[in-house]
């Protein structure tokens, strides 16, 4: 069942009001005019009957001839509403009967009455007027008046009222049409705008949900990447721990080597001291042999053998000193080599310590990276929860937009009128609304 438009309803309402007002006005006017006409007829009939009763009273009292009596009635003959006149005597006999040729519908009211009495029977107004002569009631005048003229007048008035009512109704219809147009058009525009806004809102909700879905996907990917980074950081931390352990062992080994080289140097120093003693002994031996050779030479031929022995002792001492000098050179070379080894060991220790520091730094950085990655993961979880809440809100928004679209559609249908406003635009608008109406439904699902 098709629902009527707001404008149609407004037009029908205003037209109905106008119609009711017109009907009431017409009924009241016709009824009022009929009443006034009836009252006027009654007054006129009573007055006329009274006049006739007074005019005919002498003839009845004197019991004159009917022709004389009818002369008394000549003044009212030909009255348009008069139907009959009957003069009754006090005994109820008919003294005079006058008819205008129109047979009274429903008969005549022939009753004697001491009071003026008016009685409506059918289309005839019956009037009973007592005839008095000298204060004495001598008869009753019964007259019948037709209401046809009144009815014709009422009919004429009714036609006039109907015509005027129709005109007023048409004017009211036009006025209500225009007035409803001034009300319905802004409402229709507002409904259209509301529908458009609802459509936009539904589109935005769809876009937002799409974006939220993409954000969820991105968050999932980021979370996966963070997990991979976390695993890598863990592996790097383990590797750096292994490197740190190796570097510390290398440092300890280098320190052990340096310590042993230092001990070797100490031994070499002791050997050097011993060599110095040997050198000193050999030097003194050389000196003694030299002095012995000197004394032997001074002794001449007798000291020749002593000189030779001293010369041999000198050679031995010099050989010892040369050997000691060679040992010293070797010791110096060994000392230089050990110093180089110590220096290399110290450099190795420095490098190992640097490696240890670097490994610690790497471990620290990796730990910080792992914490940061975990923090990022937690942030991703929070963000995912937020996005989920946003998606729920978006779905709620989509549902609200759906309801709003439905309400806008209903409002549009309520306001729109196919007979007055552009149906093509409204039809297309309804089609769009129908399309948009499906989108939030899918989103809500």
């Amino acid at each position: 069942m098709r629902t009527l438009g707001l404008r149609t309803k407004l037009v029908l309402t205003y037209t109905g009001i106008f119609l009711a007002f017109t009907l009431v006005f017409a009924w009241y006017l016709v009824a009022r005019q009929g009443s006034i006409a009836s009252q006027a007829l009654e007054t006129r009939a009573v007055g006329l009957s009274g006049i006739l009763a007074k005019l005919i009273a002498p003839a009845v009292d004197l019991d004159l001839d009917k022709s004389q009596a009818e002369n008394s009635l000549a003044a009212i003959k030909g009255h348009k509403d008069l139907i009959y006149i009957v003069v009754l005597k006090s005994d109820g006999s008919v003294y005079l009967r006058h008819s205008e040729g129109r047979s009274p519908m429903g008969g005549e009211l022939l009753e004697t009455s001491s009071l003026t009495r008016v009685e409506q029977r059918g289309e005839i107004l019956h009037v009973l007027e007592p005839i008095r002569s000298n204060g004495k009631e001598i008869g009753t005048l019964a007259a019948g008046f037709s209401r046809q003229s009144i009815n014709q007048e009422i009919q004429t008035s009714t036609r006039t009222v109907v015509v005027f009512s129709a005109i007023i109704l048409c004017m009211g219809f036009l006025v209500s049409w225009v007035f409803s147009g001034t009300i319905a058009r802004p409402m229709l525009e507002m409904a259209t705008q509301l529908t458009g806004l609802s459509q936009d809102l539904a589109g935005l909700a769809r876009s937002q949900e799409t974006a939220s879905t993409q954000q969820v996907s991105a968050i999932d990917e980021t979370r996966g990447t963070m997990e991979v980074m976390l695993a890598s950081a863990q592996q790097i931390a383990e590797s750096s721990s292994a490197v740190l352990g190796n570097a510390e062992r290398t440092v300890n080994g280098n320190r052990d080597v340096a310590h042993r080289i230092k001990e070797l140097n100490n031994h070499a120093e002791r050997v050097a001291e011993i060599l110095a003693v040997i050198m000193q002994v050999a030097d003194r031996t050389d000196l003694l042999a030299l002095n012995a050779a000197l004394e032997g030479t001074k002794a001449g031929e007798a000291g020749r053998g002593f000189t030779l022995v001293a010369a041999e002792m000198r050679r031995l001492a010099e050989s010892v000193m040369e050997s000691v000098a060679g040992i010293r050179r070797l010791m110096n070379d060994m000392r230089s080599a050990s110093q180089s080894a110590v220096q290399a060991g110290q450099e190795g220790i420095a490098l190992s310590e640097e490696t240890s520091r670097s490994a610690r730094d790497i471990a620290l950085v990796t730990q910080q990276q792992r914490k940061a990655t975990e923090q990022v993961g937690r942030s991703m979880d929070d963000m995912a929860a937020t996005v989920s809440e946003a998606m729920a809100s978006t779905r709620q928004t989509a549902s609200t937009a759906q309801d709003l679209v439905s309400a806008a559609l209903r409002l549009d249908r309520l306001v729109s009128s196919s007979s007055s406003l552009g149906t093509g635009r409204q039809g297309g608008h309804r089609a769009n609304v129908g399309e948009d109406f499906q989108a939030p439904t899918s989103l809500a699902e």
Binding site: R284, L287, L290, N291, L294, T297, K298, M321, A325
Partner: protein
């Protein structure tokens, strides 16, 4: 120092002789060879009292530069003379690395005794002094600088030029450079 010594030293010429082993036919002298820097010297062993280690040398105030100081050798004080300063001053002799420690060669002439610093003492050898003909045979060395007066002559030994020291003149020269007149008997002798 007497003027004749100075005059005779100015006329001396460098002479190269060989340090040869003792030969019964040729009269030879026993010399002690010692090295000071890159220069070699020879001293007659009869003038050498002893060879000692160079111990602590006490510097004597206001002493000339060639007097390094005095040292104690078994209870007696001996003047230590620097041959380097007597030859021409410090820095004249380039240092070499000796095998042994520095020595003090104590020489004596008469009652005078001084100690010479030697870096290395090669030993004792025999040397035949050159004859006058040998001197005439070395006229080609006239281009060399004049020898100090306390050097008798120079001779070749194992590609070294060895200066034979005259102990008496050495002591006199050292005393003269120190303005000591107590050695006048040595000069007269």
């Amino acid at each position: 120092m007497t003027p004749d010594l100075i005059a005779s030293s100015g006329e001396r010429k460098a002479a190269i002789v060989e340090l040869a082993p003792p030969d019964g036919d040729i009269a030879s002298v026993s010399l002690m060879l010692l090295r000071l820097g890159t220069r070699w010297f020879a001293i007659d062993v009869h003038a050498v009292v002893e060879v000692a280690l160079k111990g602590e040398v006490t510097r004597v105030p206001t002493a000339p530069h060639h007097i390094m100081g005095i040292t104690s050798l078994r209870g007696r004080l001996v003047t230590v003379v620097s041959m380097e300063q007597m030859l021409g001053g410090e820095g004249l002799l380039s240092r070499e690395n000796p095998v042994t420690l520095p020595r003090l060669v104590v020489v004596r002439y008469g009652d005078y005794e001084i100690a010479l610093v030697a870096e290395t003492i090669h030993g004792i050898g025999h040397h035949a002094p050159p004859t006058s003909a040998d001197d005439s045979d070395n006229e080609d060395d006239r281009g060399d600088p004049p020898l100090p007066e306390f050097v008798r002559y120079q001779f070749a030994w194992q590609e070294h030029r060895v200066a034979l020291l005259d102990v008496r003149k050495l002591i006199v020269t050292a005393a003269r450079l120190s303005r000591i007149d107590s050695t006048s008997e040595l000069v007269e002798a």
